[in-house]
Amino acid sequence: MISTTVQVIESEGWRNIFSAGIIRGLITYGVLCKVMVPVYVVVTFLKFTPVLDTIAGWCAPAMRWFGLPGDAALVLVLGNFVNLYAAIAVITSLKVSLLLTDAHVTILAIMLGISHSQIMETAIVRQMQINAWVVLGMRLIMSLLIGFLVHFFIIST
């Protein structure tokens, strides 16, 4: 839908480029909202129940390797299983509750930058006839490794 809309506005003129960009932006934004809003509502709801705190408690020991609080596990899980926008929704929710600092967010940004949207992106790698599992494994390992190294050497929390 995005590409056909853009093809219609064929001319190279600035006004047309601008309009095409805005339309592309709005359509993309709409798609993203469909992910972010449900995630945000559910996470915020769970935050006010014991559920999130319990899960955070289980994950806290592992998260400590990266200098992150237990709640950050949710960010990483959603970032990998869904996409970055779901992760951002969780981060926003946690930040409002003052559970994440900017340092935490930076570490998460690096870790998620390396490995996110695995379900969708592995499907893309598959098309290339490259072994998707190898790429997936590399990204996961690097994400954890770099997260640990960044926390150990660069960002302390």
């Binding site: 951002i88 930076t106 930058g113 960002i155």
Partner: protein, 159 residues
């Protein structure tokens, strides 16, 4: 069990609108900028300058298009270009794998970084760590797994 409805609704609405506003202010301008870059072919000048650096990493010259596309726009774009190049036999499977290795860790850099900066990340640390991690892994794999080495002397034909 006590569920604080007031606090919940407050967090929901305040944070919720902040989230929607933040993402909107990133995604829409970004798409406009990307549209401009794509339509005006602003990357052509960059390509020549990058060739030397890329060859050091183990990439062939043809890989640059998919690398730039993926780095700037996202993995789907990079993969799309890559698919086209491999189908038309301009890139072999080793190169494709190296491109995917790099892009896997470091794609859509503008979009992803902007997003995280908007929720508080440090842009310099974020970009540099991701970028160097990707460079390092790609170089290591190119050199030690695929044995791509920069030839310093002429090939030995007597063997």
């Amino acid at each position: 069990m006590h569920f604080d409805t007031n606090a919940f609704l407050n967090t929901l609405l305040v944070g919720g609108f902040r989230l929607l506003k933040t993402v909107f202010l990133i995604v829409v301008p970004l798409m406009v900028i990307l549209e401009v870059i794509q339509r005006k072919g602003l990357f052509d000048r960059l390509i020549g300058k990058l060739s030397l650096a890329l060859r050091f990493l183990g990439f062939e010259r043809e890989a640059i298009f998919s690398l730039l596309a993926g780095f700037s726009f996202g993995i789907s774009y990079g993969a799309g270009v890559l698919l086209k190049e491999t189908k038309e036999k301009r890139l072999n499977h080793v190169q494709a794998f190296l491109v995917m290795t790099f892009l896997g860790m470091c794609h859509a850099i503008f979009e992803d970084t902007a997003l995280f900066v908007a929720v508080g990340a440090n842009p310099v640390i974020t970009v540099s760590c991701r970028f160097f991690a990707a460079l390092l892994l790609t170089w290591l794999i190119g050199r030690y797994v695929f044995k791509i080495k920069k030839k310093k002397t002429a090939p030995d034909f007597t063997q």
